[in-house]
Amino acid sequence: MGSLTGFRRFARMALGGALLLLATGVVGDSAVTEGSKAAGLETCVAPTAEIRRNHMDYLKHDRDATVRKGIRDTRFSLAECVQCHAERDSAGTYKPVNAEGQFCESCHSYVAVNLTCFQCHSKTPEGANGNSSAGVGGGAGELRALGLLPSVDRSLSLSRDELARLHAATHTTSRGN
């Protein structure tokens, strides 16, 4: 009997350990590439979960404001996405964000969604020779959370209700447009 309890305890611990590993795996599973400006930033223009779910709607809404009304200071901008997420190689040249393994492509190929933005839009930030101010190296090393996904040791600042409300609100907005 005693050995069975021991076995159960072991099984639970193993399960717990596996879950922990899984959770850690999720933390490390960010598409943000090292060597991009985003890798040195703590968060995107909105919480990561929100951006992941809604970025297409946000961009679609704001593109009309930009093209039709000339509003260029929108909260969401494809040019800004590229600015932050384009990775630079050791020579300082930007890699296209839709190249294999890069920020946009890695998720889009995983979920099998065509990425058509870059048929027309620039895939690299302006100043492709590496003369722009995108931070590489230096500060990127300190934040091992790899940019958008915050690390485990930080406390959760958004409550569940806040998050739900935020999500519901943005969802309604995107439908409304």
């Binding site: 919480p47 990561t48 979960a49 039709r68 009304k69 200071d73 909260r75 620039s122 569940r160």
Partner: protein
């Protein structure tokens, strides 16, 4: 009311979030907060402004194409590569050109006139009239633009334009400039350097190039502001619209033709 089925269950996600999510005001960089606070000005461009151009054909030099080169560079037209195996004639006929140098000769007197020809940014643009999707549109500040997101490439607007100002992109484009997206299957034309205007600049690439060459044939500005240089020049000198008979009220005017 429950969430839509395509939405994630946030309560469940929050459970994982105890270990994964830590986004919040404390960890958001101050710069990002600032951006969020400032973003979303709803007004956009105003119809109190109408951008226009006055071109002095006497000053437009024969053989000079600085405006065309500057336009090509500013708007990424020079990044378009010629498709493999395309003939010279086809390439010249099909490559996009936002501004062209036109040379006129009066057969009676032999007088030669040079002028740059581009989208005339009409008040009543025929291209907008014929567009079946609403992709061709006139912005509040008078710019006639193409929304590539809705352009289906039917090219009705190219047929309708009396100035032959529009181009069609026939092939895939490998690289673009950030301010001027471009892709296969859409129509495009002069935007009066909208990316500059929206950034607060009040000159166009062609005007800058013409001034650099010392010709100063192109004057750009706000037609509705009576104190602007262009409005004063229009008041002082006789200018013409090309094809004024169409009563399109063009934003680009010419003197000495």
């Amino acid at each position: 009311m429950s969430h839509n089925s395509d939405q994630p269950d946030l309560r469940r996600r929050d459970f994982i979030g105890k270990t994964v999510l830590a986004a919040g005001a404390a960890s958001i960089a101050p710069g990002v907060m600032l951006t969020m606070a400032n973003a979303g000005s709803d007004e956009g461009v105003s119809s109190k402004v109408r951008w226009g151009m006055l071109i002095d054909t006497n000053k437009c030099a024969d053989g000079c194409s600085a405006c065309v080169a500057a336009c090509n560079q500013e708007n990424g037209i020079d990044l378009i590569e010629r498709p493999a195996g395309q003939s010279d004639a086809m390439w010249d006929a099909q490559r996009p050109q936002w501004v062209r140098k036109v040379k006129l000769k009066d057969n009676l007197t032999g007088e030669i006139t040079n002028l740059p020809m581009m989208c005339q940014h009409c008040e009543h643009p025929p291209c907008v009239d014929v567009c079946p999707t609403g992709a061709s549109f006139k912005r509040a500040d008078g710019l006639v633009l193409v929304d590539r997101h809705t352009c289906i490439g039917c090219r009705y607007c190219m047929m309708a334009c009396p100035y032959k100002a529009r181009s069609f992109i026939h092939q895939d484009v490998a690289s673009q400039r950030t301010g001027t997206p471009r892709g296969k299957g859409c129509v495009e034309s002069c935007t009066l350097c909208v990316q500059r205007l929206d950034a607060g600049d009040q000159t166009t690439a062609c005007q800058d190039a013409c001034n650099r060459e010392g010709h100063q044939a192109i004057l750009f500005g706000d037609l509705k502001n009576p104190d602007s240089e262009i409005a004063r020049a229009l008041k002082a000198y006789h200018s013409r619209q090309i094809r004024a008979d169409l009563e399109l009220n063009t934003g680009v005017r010419y003197t000495n033709i």
